[in-house]
């Protein structure tokens, strides 16, 4: 029960948007500190090789240069890191340190760090470094990497297999034997990368006179980095402060440990002055994590009526030379094999996962980890089954989607669903897109040689994870969040919370939630995020836990403070707190709503005149609360997307006409913000479906590492995106909110691929590789 529904559920605008609209954002890249020096890195120009000569003397003497570091002079300050988790049995990865010492393992691997008075001078000096690398055969292709006799992609591993697992129900083989139909396919999902508009940025500032390390870091997970810096550099955690101000996009990319950030911290510790590293766009392409890169073979067994009996899936994913730290590069593949078939009543399943090393930059968690792959494969097979059985794509899904009254449900892959709304979502989408009319139009246009397609894709999204994600694997990643709420002496409210803001509107929704608990307006609630010294510790914003976990934390903290205020008011008013409530910035009579005393007056008395309070009363106007989910291991959300496309069969160019989303993220706190989050997510799903791909040549060189060559979706290419909601709140929390940030990305590519294949169907062509570039579509059509 929410006591006041005034603000939760309202489309409040974001207060912090004003700063950005005025050009007053405060990004790490905007910060300049006294004594600050700038870092640039000399990077490996080849994918694999041995460093045979390294001479930095000329660079060290160059103008403006303050210091030059190599592995020899820098690496000893840092405990190396290894990206493995205990619950991934048998997983391996080499230990990593800041600068390459003997071997270079991918194009872009940092070898030398140069600090100078300006970035330009540091870059000039990089040119003067004499680096001689003896070329070795690079492991470029994942399948080839597993062939006996192939060289190892890195030191410290015993094969190029990072991790392998099989997930299987006992009756899988029997299901395929019994089945009336089997559909199958092979799929390739390209490597792409986050391309946050603000590149990675850090200013590490160690003050030797106090022993304090302040790190201004463009990250979504400040507490995680506080822990990482303390442990790896042997500092006490209390002396490490991580400040994450405005962040220019993150999407999971800015929560991994990177060589350059660690090196900036190490250098600041050694020099005792601020060290700034800001990746330029070229560096981003060869050092930010990449994502996806899967090859999947899959088949699906169906009964005579088109009922899905089972799926049998083999996923090979290629992760680069190391598993990333501290979350590992295995989480993505692990999620791929567990999300296959998730929306369906599918009794049996086998998923094999092979995670393979290669000499490329690491892949790791990026928005909607694993979801787009599982969704695209599942939905492509469902569409193939529909085609084989001559069923409408909506009809086959009606027959197979979990019934809305079938919960709780455990999937064949072991996920526990509290309550989802697939069937209702399917029907809502059907109406929303005007399906019959779209089909009629499609048929009519085909006669004129215009090929349009409609594709749909239901999905589930994992949100609100607890310790099951990383904690049980031994990673020090907080599974809980914390909030401290206080009433100021003037009666305003301040909330310091561990969930962070990267533009999703975290601060706004927290203010809305707190406002409702304390009977004030969101404007009266100031929210502080992103500073480990000024907010309580917590997991922060990743895997869609900001609203569901952060929001619940704020709600509970708010209620605690509400109780404290009412108790105090009862003492002041000599009334029973049970008969009092908070509304309109005051304590009111619960039944009549009449104002008894304002919050400002309570603040004044408690702060300036505690002497007037009855003896022994508690005048603290601050409440702290931490919260970790303890019900279901995850709160799954669900939804469905539809894509409408037109394929020019002469050029292979696809035009996106329209995209629709029906989403059920539980209780919606702010519809305005939720919808834009979904739209942004959809575009990040459509990008890799049509444009985005990190291309490599046979030698392991990335050949399109610039924003001119790497295509990011632009306004002109993206469709209008219509959104509808169903609300199925989780009963695990008082708030009932689940996450929403990854839903758009989860199924957009799957819907788009089904739409393109729907357009190509009359021509007997089919595509199963992303991005679906014009050339690949022409190849599918047999034109090239």
């Amino acid at each position: 029960m929410i006591p006041s529904k005034n603000h939760i559920g309202q489309s409040h605008r974001r207060k912090n948007a004003f700063r950005h609209l005025a050009g007053r954002g405060r990004f790490v890249t905007d910060l300049a500190l006294p004594r600050m020096v700038h870092a640039a890195f000399v990077r490996s120009p080849m994918a694999k090789g041995n460093i045979v000569e390294l001479d930095v003397s000329e660079a060290a003497a160059a103008s403006g240069v303050v210091r030059v570091f190599t592995a020899e002079t820098l690496n000893h300050t840092c405990v190396p890191w290894t990206g493995t988790l205990d619950h991934f049995a048998g997983m391996q990865s080499g230990a990593q340190n800041m600068l390459a010492s003997n071997e270079v393992l991918w194009v872009g691997h940092p070898v030398v760090m140069i600090l100078a008075h300006s970035r330009a001078e540091a870059e000039d000096a990089c040119e003067l470094v004499m680096l001689d690398i003896e070329d070795e055969d690079a492991v470029v292709d994942g399948d080839a990497a597993l062939v006996k006799g192939t060289p190892l992609a890195a030191e410290g591993i015993n094969s190029n297999m990072c991790f392998q697992t099989v997930l299987e129900t006992p009756d899988l083989d029997d299901a395929f034997t019994r089945s009336a139909h089997v559909v199958e396919g092979k799929f390739t999902f390209g490597r792409h990368t986050a391309v946050t508009l603000e590149p990675r940025a850090i200013i590490a500032d160690f003050d030797p006179s106090t022993g304090q390390l302040d790190v201004h870091h463009g990250t979504q997970t400040p507490y995680q980095f506080q822990d990482v810096y303390a442990r790896h550099f042997g500092l006490s955690e209390g002396r490490v402060r991580v400040i994450a101000p405005d962040i220019g996009g993150s999407f999971g990319m800015k929560l991994h440990v990177y060589h350059e950030e660690m090196a900036a911290v190490a250098a600041s510790l050694m020099l005792g002055r601020p060290v700034r590293f800001v990746a330029d766009r070229l560096e981003s392409f060869v050092s930010d994590i990449h994502a996806r890169d899967h090859r999947v073979t899959a088949r699906m067994a169906l009964d005579a009526e088109g009922g899905i009996l089972a799926m049998d899936v083999d996923d090979m994913t290629q992760i680069g030379a190391f598993s990333s730290y501290p979350r590992t590069s295995v989480a993505e593949g692990n999620q791929v094999i567990r999300l296959m078939g998730a929306p369906y009543q599918m009794p049996d399943y086998r998923g094999r996962l092979s995670v393979v090393f290669q000499n490329k930059v690491q892949t790791s968690q990026y928005r909607a980890v694993g979801h787009p792959i599982a969704c695209a494969v599942t939905e492509a097979l469902v569409d193939r089954a529909a085609e084989l059985l001559d069923l409408d794509p909506f009809e086959i899904r009606r027959r197979n989607l979990l019934a809305d009254d079938a919960y709780p449900h455990i999937s064949a892959t072991g996920y526990q669903f509290e309550k989802l709304s697939h069937q209702a979502s399917l029907e809502k989408l059907h109406q929303m897109i005007g399906y019959e009319a779209l089909r009629a139009e499609q048929i009519a246009l085909r006669k004129q040689g215009i090929y349009r397609g409609i594709g749909i894709a239901p999905f589930v999204e994992i949100t609100n994870p607890g310790a099951a994600f990383y904690g049980i694997g031994g990673a020090r990643i907080s599974a809980q969040d914390g909030a401290v709420i206080r009433l100021t002496p003037a009666g305003d409210v301040h909330c310091a919370i561990s969930v962070t803001e990267q533009g999703q509107g975290t601060e706004t929704i927290i203010a809305q939630i707190v406002a409702d608990q304390l009977g004030v307006t969101p404007d009266q609630v100031k929210v502080t995020t992103g500073d480990t010294d000024n907010t309580p510790s917590g997991g922060a914003t990743w895997a869609c836990r900001g609203a569901g976990i952060g929001g619940e934390t704020a709600l509970r903290a708010g209620r605690k403070l509400q109780a404290q205020i009412l108790t105090l008011a009862g003492e002041i008013l000599q009334a029973d707190p049970m008969h009092l409530a908070l509304a309109s910035g005051a304590v009111v009579d619960k039944t009549t709503g009449q104002e008894r005393i304002t919050l400002a007056e309570i603040g004044r008395i408690a702060t300036y005149r505690p002497d007037t309070l009855p003896k022994g009363s508690d005048n603290s106007l601050t409440a702290a609360q931490h919260f970790a989910p303890s019900g279901y291991p995850f709160d799954f959300t669900n939804g469905i997307q539809a894509s409408h496309v037109e394929v020019d069969i002469e050029t292979g160019v696809t035009r996106l006409l329209k995209h629709w989303v029906v989403e059920d993220c539980g209780r919606i706190i702010n519809p305005l913000l939720v919808d834009e989050q979904i739209r942004g997510g959809v575009v990040q799903g459509l990008g890799p479906a049509f444009f985005e791909e990190c291309l490599y040549d046979d030698m392991g060189q990335m050949t399109n590492a610039s924003l001119v060559d790497y295509l990011v979706p632009m306004a002109g290419e993206m469709p209008d995106i219509e959104i509808a909601h169903i609300e199925t709140p989780t009963l695990d929390t008082i708030l009932g909110a689940k996450g929403v940030g990854e839903a758009g990305t989860a199924a957009a590519g799957a819907a788009a691929m089904n739409a393109v294949n729907d357009a190509l169907r009359p021509l007997g062509a089919r595509i199963s590789q992303t991005p679906m570039t014009p050339l690949r579509i022409l190849t599918a059509l047999g034109h090239v």
Partner: protein, 162 residues
């Protein structure tokens, strides 16, 4: 070797000594602390660094500071303080047409330039006009809506854009 340049920035006369290789963006951000102009690619692709040069939007990352000598530059700070884009800012705010805010400077510059040039753009024309602006957070639609609503308001049409 530094060169002296003089230019007008947001209405103020500015005299600075810069290296020939200093970009206009670096001059604004590093020398003058006008950090509203952002750098996302430094090669003219992303649009985060757009400023008005003699009234026309240019990529501050591609213009050398010395080239801007003798010219008039207006940054987001200037447009904001002069109240020139108040309506655009409000529509962006209403529509939540920004998330992280890193692209926002460039979006506002492109929008302002478009509306001066074509006061009643269609949605496809707006999308076309944003063809030099990356946004990685929004789905672009809110930005298109905000610009479209501003156009309608400026051209005196009643009602909100959808």
């Amino acid at each position: 070797m530094k060169t002296d340049i003089t230019l007008t920035i947001n209405g103020d006369a500015v005299r600075e000594a810069v290296e020939p290789r200093t970009s206009l963006a670096d001059l604004l951000r590093d020398n003058l602390q006008l950090t509203g102009t952002h750098l996302g690619c430094e090669m003219g692709a992303c649009g985060a660094c757009l400023v008005m040069l003699d009234g026309a939007p240019v990529h501050a990352c591609l213009v050398l500071a010395v080239q801007a000598s003798g010219h008039k530059v207006e940054t987001i700070e200037g447009l904001n303080e002069r109240g020139l884009i108040k309506d655009l800012q409000e529509k962006f705010h209403d529509r939540n047409a920004l998330q992280c805010g890193f692209c926002t400077n460039g979006m506002l510059m492109s929008a302002q330039a478009l509306l001066l040039d074509n006061p009643t753009p269609s949605r496809p024309e707006i999308r076309e006009a944003l063809s030099g602006n990356y946004c990685r957070c929004t789905g672009y639609e809110a930005i298109v809506d905000a610009i479209s609503a501003t156009a309608k308001m400026r051209s005196g049409q009643a009602g909100e854009a959808s």
